[in-house]
């Protein structure tokens, strides 16, 4: 199909991201402030609920919580928004030829900008809780990029599935809830029985969040093993997502 090369559509991508961003914030009084408030409020609630349980184990618990919340909700937003991207753009897809990937990609980029904004309250929480600021923090973009690749891959997969089966979103809402609890966001992995820990470590989000925590909380560059796991967690789902999406995109238009 002609006009399918996504790299020629940078301008379209820019416009779509701008549009997503505008519509996300235009209707609300606080606007962009929600990007700061959302993770902070979630963190406050979880802190109130869980600090009694785990405070003793984890130093800088608010920052520990916030890193997990920010990364997980970024991934969740990418998938939830990206999943609906093709179906929601159905009327347009039936009229104008465009590389299909611009729709989920533009939504994931919008979420990535949101992630960038939520680093500001993270910085605030670090200062308030006395977490030392170290040169390791310069590696945060790497953590963000790796998570982005993973989330984009998931987004492309779920988006494809959603075109063919519209009940995917209901499955996802259940799956993402389960996933939230299966990921050590508000608890340390040490509370999991030792026999089960290897299984929990296979969770890509656990690997990515731990990568981020090593940078933010310990002020260290993640180990080679961590880098390897995270590169794998980013590359494999992305490759699979791109493959499935490209394989099926010509048929999307018949299911919209």
């Amino acid at each position: 199909m002609h006009k399918k090369n996504i790299f020629r559509y940078g301008f379209l991508l820019e416009q779509l991201v701008k549009r997503n961003f505008n519509t996300k914030y235009r209707q609300s009084v606080l606007g962009i402030l929600w990007s700061f408030l959302n993770p902070l409020l979630t963190m406050a609630v979880q802190y109130l609920v869980f600090s009694a349980l785990f405070r003793s184990d984890i130093s800088h618990f608010p920052v520990y919580l916030l890193t997990g919340i920010i990364l997980f909700s970024f991934m969740n937003e990418c998938v939830t928004l990206g999943m609906d991207a093709i179906v929601a753009s159905g009327p347009l897809i039936k009229k104008v030829a465009m590389p299909m990937a611009v729709y989920p990609l533009s939504r994931c980029i919008t979420a990535l900008i949101g992630l960038g904004l939520s680093l500001i309250p993270l910085g605030g929480a670090m200062l308030l809780s006395g977490t030392p600021l170290t040169p390791a923090l310069l590696l945060i973009p790497a953590a963000a990029l790796l998570t982005f690749c993973f989330a984009l891959g998931m987004s492309l997969l779920m988006c494809t599935l959603n075109v063919f089966f519209r009940d995917t979103r209901f499955l996802w809402s259940v799956a993402s809830l389960l996933w939230t609890y299966a990921t050590p966001i508000f608890y340390p992995i040490t509370i999991i029985p030792a026999a089960w820990q290897p299984v929990f470590r296979l969770n890509p989000m656990y690997q990515l969040i731990t990568f981020m925590r090593t940078i933010v909380l310990e002020g260290l560059c993640p180990s080679a093993g961590q880098w390897g796991m995270c590169l794998l967690a980013a590359a494999l789902p992305l490759a699979l997502g791109v493959f499935v999406f490209r394989k099926t995109q010509d048929r999307f238009v018949f299911h919209l």
């Binding site: 301008f11 505008n22 465009m98 018949f254």
Partner: protein, 248 residues
Amino acid sequence: MEKAMVEVQHVTMDFRRDCNRTTHLKEFAVNLLTGRHHIEKFRALDDVTLTVPQGCVMGLIGPNGAGKSTLLKVISGIYRPSGGQALVHGSLVPMLELGSGFDADLTGRENILLNGAILGYSKAFLLPKVEQIIDYSELRDFIDMPLKTYSSGMLARLAFSIASVVEPDVLIVDEILSVGDEHFQRKSRARMLELMKGSSRAVIFVSHNLQQLREMCDRVIWLDHGRIRMQGAAGEVCDAYEREAAAT
């Protein structure tokens, strides 16, 4: 020999007419288990071959359901044909559905950029043309207001102004568009005719108006049940089409 701008080579287009249209995983699983999932095919285009050379206005006629819209969608790249291929040499603007992708919450000015990007314009092309588009649409007083405050006539004017600013190599026209009030209708019709008459351009023009086809087109293709029934000089094909319409 003139340069061919659009080449459609043995294009066949099959649609699946799913008897049990499965759009839910649950149904899919049930159908799979009970073996009830069967697919019926519907052939919308059958071995269609045509060429539109530079400077040619090619008319397309045929009854409803003959495959005209499907053919246009194959040429503009929305459908990938089941067989054969459609090649377009140069830039293509489909004047099919004006205002596709307008966002009601954005202002007119923001929508010019968004809609232009959707039509495939580059940033370098579009940015210097924004003022020209606003002037042409005669909507300067409203351009920084959200699109949801526009009347349908104003929307159509803005959409037409964006789509017609470009000078494409290949133009696909589904009925000659004249939009807005009487004054703007005359203006948009004139611009449309100007675009269609450009000698470096290839135009594919769909209409049920035989009078218009005779006036505008060099050649006409008659499509019937997904096949090319006849193609040739505009007058000739229109005569034959008219005779058949009278006979039935």
